[in-house]
């Protein structure tokens, strides 16, 4: 029973990790808490749903299409909302407020056009079968979720560590002015970071949409609670921290639901968030700079 729950927790946790990864990447490089991130999650899921329903696309088409469209939306949103503030070197709270207003407008616009009713993927979109593995049941959807997360994380790490773009991104994260002086195209790098994180957010949206088979405009907003908890527990801007914190949160939630109550499960993320702030604001690995005011 415990091992089954650990597996379920691992699956849930990898979606949290995937979701938080893009969110923390934006903060780590661009120093912005970008609240439109939740919308990338919703729009990714919705685009995947639409291509599946209207064009009968399989998951192997719908997932990348959903994720990449979210990436494009992210680039556009960042360009419209944050270019001006970046140029003025406005404080982090100004950009937080802009993205807050924008994300409410975006969710509400989406709700006006597609309604707030829960929508589902077409029947038989993914195989519902599960395999037994020494008494542990794993469904194909669950394997898809963990597998996709694994691949995306690996690609992200390789990209950041081994490519020229990765080097540009890391330089920008270090110091924008220095990066510019070294001849790095800052605008392009910013767009690339937005695209990467939007894609990650969109992919997480498709996978969670599949897992719970419920898609709705405000789903990204509801996911943000987990996103906030994970990036703070992992340390703001810390990618490895977010991965581990995401999995940890998923496992803890499933165990709480199993051994205490499903109501308590909902409070896990917030409780750990507050505890982290009290006792370890720099995050799990202490790499985040919790700037003392």
């Amino acid at each position: 029973m415990l091992s089954q729950q650990l597996v379920n927790g691992l699956v849930l946790g990898s979606t949290y990790a995937l979701f938080a990864l893009g969110f923390t990447l934006i903060f780590g490089v661009l120093r912005v808490i970008n609240l439109t991130y939740g919308f990338y999650f919703s729009i990714g899921a919705f685009v995947a749903l639409t291509v599946a329903r209207e064009f009968g696309a399989t998951i192997w088409v719908a997932l990348p299409v959903g994720a990449l469209s979210a990436g494009v939306v992210a680039v556009v949103a960042d360009w419209i909302l944050l270019t001006r503030l970046r140029r003025a070197k406005a404080g982090e709270l100004a950009s937080l407020m802009v993205t807050l207003g924008a994300v409410l407008a975006l969710y509400s616009l989406m709700a006006v056009f597609i309604g707030t009713d829960i929508q589902r993927f077409p029947f038989g979109f993914v195989d519902n079968t599960a395999i037994e593995f020494g008494g542990i049941r794993i469904s194909l959807v669950q394997m898809l979720i963990v597998g996709t997360t694994f691949v995306l994380v690996a690609v992200l790490f390789l990209l950041l560590q081994r490519t020229k773009l990765g080097l540009m991104i890391r330089a920008l994260a270090e110091n924008e002015d220095a990066a510019r002086l070294m001849g790095i195209n800052v605008g392009l790098t910013v767009a690339a970071v937005s695209f990467l994180s939007g894609t990650l957010g969109g992919a997480a949206g498709v996978l969670i949409g599949l897992n719970f088979n419920a898609i709705q405009p405000f789903m990204g907003e509801h996911m943000m609670l987990r996103g906030f908890a994970v990036i703070i527990i992992g340390g703001l801007g810390d990618i490895r921290g977010a991965l581990i914190a995401g999995v940890l949160l998923g496992v803890l939630e499933v165990l709480t639901a199993g051994y205490i109550s499903s109501n308590a499960k909902e409070a896990v993320a917030f409780t750990i968030l507050v505890l982290t702030l009290w006792f370890r604001p720099v995050g799990l690995f202490g790499r985040a700079q919790a700037k003392r005011a």
Partner: protein, 285 residues
Amino acid sequence: MDGMTMAEWLDDFLFTYETLIHALGVNGLLALSMYCVMAVGQLSLGQAAFMGIGAYTGALLTLNLGLPFWLVLPLSALAPAVVALVIGGPTLRLSGVYLAISTIALGEVLRVLYINAEWLTGGALGLSGIPRKADLWLIYLLLFLAVLGFWAVGRSKIGRAMEAMREDEAVAGVMGVNLPVYKMGALVVSAMLAGLAGCLTAHSNSFIGPNEFGFEMAVTILSFALVGGIGTPIAPVIGALVLTSLPEILRPLQDFRLVINGLIIVVAVLFLPRGVIPFRLRRAP
């Protein structure tokens, strides 16, 4: 006014627009609660959450324990203040994003808990049948007192310290402003105001539900303060008045109300950075 006396007309007017007039007063209080935090250069997005705590506390005390309203009201202000202490304690020592993040998260977790704790909060259906004890005069008296209080504080030494913090926190600290005390004080007072507003809403609508105090409300409250500006305490109240009556006037735009609310914030921050938002634009390092 065909033949009506002034008094009759006023009665009629109050009857027709009662809900709106209540909402105007309550939203004025909420705008002030936002003002209070922003006046020290912080950003709390938990005003709606604090309001919700006040509303549920007030409604439950009235419905389950039958406490008198004069006792319910201060208790509904106290409950969110305690929560503000728990959240403000660690976050106010850190950079501003931590308070903003943890207060949005607070709103989201409370929404889910209200829905799940059915035995206490009535779940998704919320609580109804709350006696209408929040009279119009009481709402506006509290609003008036709050404006007056902020005005008096603003003109005192405390007000100057708050302004200094808003302009440059580091400098204010060096000048001897006790930053943690001011920040925490502002957050607690703002939570209490929001709690009052929540309790008044519960006792004037006679119904509260879990989705009324969520993300949308948080953004709406922020838009009050951003539209009005926070130069003086009356400014955010005016912002609240304008934004609350706007949807009544622009009925056809009803569906797009939240879209507009969101865009207002975007426009205010992007294009009126000095006039409307309090945050100093940081110079190049």
